[in-house]
Amino acid sequence: MATLAQPVKGPMRPNIASADIQLPAVRDFEQVDNEIAATLGPSKGWFLGLALSVAAMLVGAGAWTYQIYDGLGHAGYVPPVMWGVYIITFVFWVGIGHAGTLISAILYLFRAGFRTTIYRVSEAMTVFAVMTAGLFPIIHIGRPWKFFWLIPYPNWRLLWSNFKSPLVWDVFAISTYLTISTTFLYIGLIPDIAVLRDREQNPTRRLILSILSLGWRNTDVEWRNFTKAYLFLAAFSTPLVLSVHSVVSFDFAMALTPGWHATIFPPYFVAGAIFSGFAMVWTIAIPMRKWWRLEHYITLNHLDATAKVVLFTSLVVGSAYLIEFFIAWYSGVEVEQSYFWNRVFGQWWWSAWIMLICNMALPMSLWSQKLRRNPTWLFILSIFINIGMWYERFVIVVPSLSHEFEPWQWTNYLPSWVDVAFIIGSFGWFFMWFLLFVRQLPVMAIMEIKEIVPARRKHAAVHGHGGAH
């Protein structure tokens, strides 16, 4: 099931095509099991990371408690800027959640070999990012206990949700995405949990792993149905991942607000989501491969391939920024022109230039093969892209609302300490789940890596690259 192209002919060149990526330093199945299972051991660094994440999460939880007790007035909203950090951070985390499904589903269907060792960590990242994103609309509505009103359910007043509202579309899109991403992650994990079950000595842990593995036995019938189910899940997830951020973009594009009412929003949002999601994969995977000495699994060729995706999506996002300016000028609508001038050279110049430098200028360094294969630079760049993409959403939300049609409505906006606490809390919440995941379950797909590794044979292999082809 691992995605493989034809075997590499001749020596591996450093700038090898993505689909030809192999793992020459991984010799056999036992090595795969032993090295990936070794990542599950406890360490001081893990406890420290978890403690910091929980502390950050408590900052956010404290701010939420305070806001529920004392009201939404603490959120820093200044009419008419009634969407602020909460919606910005919601869109940011939904975007982060896109790379996981792109890597696990879309790249699977495209047979892109570089996905095999990074897709598990990306899928887990997706699930936790969407869990984080899902909190923000609930925080934003001010009375979170009424959230269930958005869900259509039979009730004695015979009231139903308005299916023409983008907010209801969001509920359907995000909940479907969370459900399917979690299912996809779990289905891929079942054979790997069976590996852990069979290695486990502790009876309690073995029992838990037995339940989670559902009694998986690696039979031919199980693999046949598993492969087909995985393929269909990938086929469903592919349009789903593209639809989710399109639906999120409709939250903006369906309004007449200057800067929002644009038909390019769905592809612009999807490209931005993939761009930011890959950056977060670097933020997580680059330290991970170093700490657990997994450089021979996530090789420089893998990083090189992901860097090309980032470079491409940066060009798409950059083009979208420029097209927005062009359309504002070309449309001849004065309100649009005034808004875009104010965005880049007026009141919000600083945020727009953070966005343009981080998302358009710095990723151009990836034209250099040397930098694409430099993990330290990729990690630093990933931090800049994460910041740049948060600011992209800031630039979309705040400058539009603060500079609408009527000049007397024009205003300023500054996030309050409660807003900042929620941002810190969201990172704490995300990394807390992620760290708990990597401690308990394999961060790489054992079963799929075994597909790449040449199988043992009595006679020399005729295919030259093992049994999986």
């Binding site: 099931m1 056999d28 199945f29 036992e30 099991d33 259509p152 015979l158 139903w160 949700s161 308005n162 299916f163 023409k164 209801v168 579309w169 359907f172 899109a173 479907t176 459900t179 399917i180 299912t183 289905i187 054979p191 590996v195 079950r197 069979d198 290695r199 339940i211 559902l214 009694g215 998986w216 036995r217 690696n218 039979t219 031919d220 019938v221 199980e222 693999w223 046949r224 149905n225 598993f226 492969t227 087909k228 189910a229 269909f232 899940l233 469903f236 997830s237 349009p239 789903l240 639809s243 079963m447 075994k450 597909e451 199988a455 043992r456 044979r457 009595k458 006679h459 049994g467 999986a468």
Partner: protein
């Protein structure tokens, strides 16, 4: 309770050879265990196409129908009359129809895989060995007691590293 014999194999080509020999000899139904997917092995077994796709199709159609139905029915039931706009508008409702198609279709795919694989499995498979998830391959031949010796000989000849009775 499983009967027959179970064999461990260290090499992929050995298990492929054993599968071919078992099919020729017709000593009984057999199950092959493999730590990962190998198309070479899959081709040797020749198990046919999985029926999971039927669950996917039915689930997808049901989900899409439900998505459109719930949005159209509720709009007609409690009409929001805005100017000359349609009360039930299929364009925005396509989002609901699409999301429900994906949700129900994907979950029914998983359900189908569970049904066809017989999981969650609460009964221990006596033929299963822990090395089958680690690095070894395995074959369990479910045969009558009088055919066990023939099956054991066949598996050993193909290159099995260990052959036992599955009890």
């Amino acid at each position: 309770m499983a009967y027959g014999v179970v064999a461990n194999f260290r090499e992929l080509d050995a298990v492929v050879e054993a599968v071919g020999a078992l099919k020729k000899a017709s000593v009984g139904k057999f199950t092959v265990y493999s730590p990962t997917i190998h198309h070479e092995l899959e081709d040797a077994i020749g198990g046919g196409t999985s029926k999971v796709r039927r669950f996917t199709l039915i689930g997808g159609l049901l989900g899409a129908s439900f998505g459109y139905w719930v949005s159209i029915w509720t709009s007609e039931y409690w009409p929001l009359v805005v100017g000359g706009k349609a009360i039930a508008s299929w364009i925005p409702y396509t989002i609901i129809g699409f999301e429900m198609m994906v949700m129900v279709g994907a979950l029914s795919t998983v359900f189908g895989m569970f049904i066809l694989n017989g999981i969650p499995r609460i009964v221990v498979d006596p033929a299963y060995r822990a090395p089958f998830s680690h690095g070894d391959y395995g074959i369990h031949v479910d045969c009558a007691p009088d055919q066990e010796s023939a099956a054991m000989d066949l598996l050993k000849k193909a290159g099995a590293s260990e052959v036992q009775r599955a009890r």
